[in-house]
Each structure stands twice: as structure tokens, then as C-alpha cells.
Symmetry: C2
Amino acid sequence: MTTSANGRRRPPTIHDVAREAGVSRGTVSRFLNGGHYVSPAARRAVEAAIRKTGYVVNRHARSLSTGRSDSVAFLLTEPQEKFFEDPNFNVLLRGCTERLAQHDIPLLLMLAESDDDRRRLTRYITSGHVDGVLLLSNHSGDPVAAELHDAGIPLVVCGKPIGLGSKVSYVAAADREGAQEMVRHLLTGGRRRIGMVTGPLDMPGGPDRLAGYRDVLAEAGLPYDPALVVEGDFRRSGGERAARRLLAQAPDMDAVFVASDLMALGVVNVLQQAGRSVPGDITVGGFDDSPAATAIAPALTTMRQPFDRISAEMVRMLLAQIAGEDTAGVILPTELVVRDSA
Amino acid sequence: MTTSANGRRRPPTIHDVAREAGVSRGTVSRFLNGGHYVSPAARRAVEAAIRKTGYVVNRHARSLSTGRSDSVAFLLTEPQEKFFEDPNFNVLLRGCTERLAQHDIPLLLMLAESDDDRRRLTRYITSGHVDGVLLLSNHSGDPVAAELHDAGIPLVVCGKPIGLGSKVSYVAAADREGAQEMVRHLLTGGRRRIGMVTGPLDMPGGPDRLAGYRDVLAEAGLPYDPALVVEGDFRRSGGERAARRLLAQAPDMDAVFVASDLMALGVVNVLQQAGRSVPGDITVGGFDDSPAATAIAPALTTMRQPFDRISAEMVRMLLAQIAGEDTAGVILPTELVVRDSA
DNA sequence: CTGAAAGCGCTTACAG
DNA sequence: CTGAAAGCGCTTACAG
């Protein structure tokens, strides 16, 4: 630390390091950026000088010079932000933050609630303030993914973006296969009138999990009964509403597959209030393995989404794109977690 | 947008705007920074030029020039990050992000889990990469607040930092008064053997809520019975453990004040499993009014923490500090929310 | 009110 | 392998 006239500390610059090490600033910079074309002697001198001065690179100067920002946005768009209550969100945000930190890349959190926000943030992002975007937005109507993609911004979406085809890189869990496995598990328990609470059908995780449910019904030679299927909204309250409808439409239901744990909380609650025991009268299978799964009695049998792997993969792919590589879609397997509800 | 030889878009610079407007770059810059000393004619020309070119300021260049980063860190330190499951965290993070966005200031999310992380981040922060820090860290042993404060970094802590006295600016809820109000409410219901599950006593919200409980007991002429008080950890599982101990130590307990909603979830669960009805046999009062409060049956009577105001106040104070003003501690009132559990 | 110019701290061809 | 130098896009005294 150098102290200037006014007593405020002035952080050491590359110049201070160069002087201390007896080399040019160019050499220090080369050392900082991979150490190519730096002699062992120079390297040692620079290392010592950095230690002595406590030098830390000024990222603004570096970014101005390189045109890269060395930071990444984690963007949550309007429809999705409602799911801020969703514990999955935390797990993903945290996973991405940690992975990026390993690469010394700060994460900028951005929330786009209104159209105004969306425009402002798209502008901010396309102006080069971040090198890439991790996007949590899945409603099919959301234009953000397409906008960013078209602007050439490195982008990885969480969940398979409906309608964008293979244009955009994404990381998703194996929704269909996971749903299949859960419904097979319910069947194994001897149940035959299996209901389902789906996610919104315009979001990833909506149609695919429903498809998995239908796959297994067909596979088992059971009829598809529309009275057994209700669309939910991935929220707890939506699970409650759905359960009430199912109870009314299909009172003989003996099992139910709920497309998210949060909704399953609501479902179990309503079933119990209606005097149905879980898993005695009705077995319940969830999806996510979120903290919510163990927050109720009975603890929820569910399909675990590999959130750690999802965030790791998102970050890996984004960094690859930033480095100029092409990336595609990745689908990660889910895992059945058997607890008490089914 | 200007297109350079290689076909990549080059964002317009202040230079492009100046040329377009027929003024100097200095004039454009003055317009950008408050518009002082800019004639109406020049202002109009610059406005038009900005619109035409689609100019957006390059923050790296600005930061390099001004020494400010125009960004802020939201820092979660090790002990606190365990509470990532805590829905309160989401509400605060979101509130701060929104408020900062209104000032066009990006929020950098930082997680310090290990001592290594802590050192790295402290270094990052004190190197001027952010203008200030919003800190969620409350364990009394946590050195981060003191470190940042001593380094002269603008800093606002969420929750009253134990042990730092009035050195550090903070925003907190009125824990003691809130606890008093809840315990009075339980008394009003006619209960006399009122238990308490506290938070960790080395965290804000720990001792103060306990103090409020004792205040009202004394006020009502009731004895303080240590068998009725168990320390929790602000987690759901800790609430369960605490409830089991209370049931064993004080089987005649007829009400319980739980220092967080998440713990209250666990408490209600254990009480019900033990065959005690809520609120029939035992009334339960929580603290927070988190989404968890309405996630159980019966819905939880609780003290609402004004999280929106807390995050707004944190941001306001931090910006004031960055602008050179002094700020102190702020305590915001809580509000009793009566539902079904008490 | 305005322009010319220095300077912020880096990186990166370029010439050696 | 190394140094000198240009350049990244802004802001801000300074002189007018």
C-alpha cells in the first residue's frame, strides 16, 4: 500500500510491482496472464514483488483493455421470479456462485420483473457489462433467451427452453425419465388409480413429466384418465387447489405423482385434512428433493434433481462459450429417493 | 452500433456521440454526469445523438477514471450461509437487488464459506472492486464485519452485530419489543406455562428475543423457569429437537414462543406427533412471518419482520456511506400477525 | 458554457 | 524472453 498526499491509501499498481521487481510493466502483465515468455528469474522477482506490495489487479483497467468484463450475470426473468419462494432457486444460485468463484468470476444477480426491467437489463447485458448470462426463465413466451442469443451473448438456460429448439444451450434434468421412474415406483407399491399434478404446461418440467406419467401408464396397460390429471403452478397453494380437484374428480385415487415437492406439500396437506392418510390411503411422490421434501410428515418420496451438477454444468458450459467454444443441451439424470410417503 | 472490419459490433463510445452531436467528448461526459455546465442546445444535441447511436456508458472506463466501481457486494459469511435454506434470506436478497437496481447499481453475490474464501473476498473487496458491502453475518465470532469496517469499506450489517457496539452501521428488527408483544399475545390467550425456543445466543435475534420473553414474564408476575427454555439454531430440525426437550422437561407447557418460523415448523410437527393439538393444547407463536408461516396447518401466528423495509434501509444507508455520510444503527418495528396457531 | 488534454491501470502487438 | 509504447473509454481540472 502506498499512501498518497491526502492520507488515503492508494492500492499498488502494476507499476509499483514492476519497479519493485526491477522489470517492465509488460513483464508483470505477462506474468499475470499466464506467465508465458517470462524467465524464471523474472517470475521469481515478480512473485516476490507482488507479495511485498500486496498487489491486486485492477479489474476495471483490465476490462477496459481486454474488452472482457470477467463477470457473469445470473438473470431471473419475470415469470420465474415468482418462484423466489422455491428452495430450488437457492440451491442453483448458490451452486453457480461457488463454481464461478473457483474461477474468480463474480456473479451479478439480476431480476427482471417488469418489461422495463427486461429492456434495461437486456441493454445492460448486450453492452458488454458481463461476458455471459446464466438464465432462469422457462416460460415459453419469455423473449429474453431469444434476444440474448440473437445478440450473440454467451448464454446457458436452466431447463429446456420450450420453443427455442436446439438454438440455445441449456442444462436440464431428465424430466421424462424421472417421471417414469416415479410412476413405476408408485405402481410397484400396488397402486392402480394414480393421479398426477403437473407443472405449468408451458414450462419445462411441465409437459415432459406428464409425458413420463403417460408413458408408464401405457406401459402398464392402464388407461389414461383425464379426471386423474390436474395442472398445477409449481407453488404450494397450487398443489392444494389441485388436490381438492383430484379428490372431487377421482375419489378413488390411491396414489398421486406431483411434479414438484413444493406442490406436494400442499397436496399432502389437503389429503390429510380430507381424512386420507399418506401413504396408507394414498401414496404421494414428489419431484426435486428440495428441502421441502423433509419438511413434512410423512417425509416425501421424490425424484432428486442433481442441482449441484446442474449448476456446475451451467457454469462450465458458459465459460466454454465465453472461450469461444460451441455448447449444446445437456440432460442430467434424476434419482429416486424413497422416504415415507410412497 | 458501428461495425468494425472483422464484422463484430463495436459499441458506440462517447466519441461517437460527441461527433454525432457536434460537441466535444467533455461536453458529452458532463451531460452524462448530471448535466451541469451544459447549455440547453448542447443538451438536446447530445440527447439526440445518444438516442441515435444507442450509446451506453462503458462502466469499466468510467470506474477506471473515477475510482468508483458503482457496484455493491452482498456478502454472506460462513456461519450464515447455512441459513441459505432460510426463506428470509431470499426476501432480503431480492429486496436489496431491487433497490440497488433503482440506482442502476449491480449487486455482486459473494459467499464466504471457508476461511480461504473469507480472506480472498476481503482482499477482493478492500481492493476497491466494490464500493460497499451489505453483510449478512451475525455470529459474534465473525471477524468480517470488523475487518471491513477497519479497512474503511462502506458497510451495513443486517441484524445488530453482537460485540461491535455502535462501530458498525446495521439494520435490525425490534427483536426485544417484538418478542414482548408475542408473549403478551400468548398470555392474553390465557396461557401461563409459556415455553420458549430461542435462537443461537451468539446471534442477533438470540438474546434479544429471549430478553423480551423474560420481560413479559416478569411484567406478568410469572416465574422464569429454565426448564421452559431451550436454545435452538434457527433451523427446522433444531426446532424439532427443542420441542422434544421441552415436552420432556415441561410436560405441562401450554404455549410456546419460537424465535423463528422455520423452527416453529419443527416445533408444531413434533407437538402434533406427540398428540398435542395446536392451538388446542399448546399455542405456538413464531417470529419472521416467512413463507413458512403459512406452509403448515394450523397457519402460524407470528411477528412479522419488515424485510422490505430492512433491505430498503440497508441500501439507503450504504449509498449514504458511499456518498461520504455517516450512518448509525436503525431498528425497525415488527408487527403481530395473528393466524391460527395462537 | 466549452474544448483540449492528461490521466486512470491495464494488455498486447511490435521490435528487438 | 523483454521493454517501450499505443490504446482501451471514460472523467475532470484547467484555461478560456
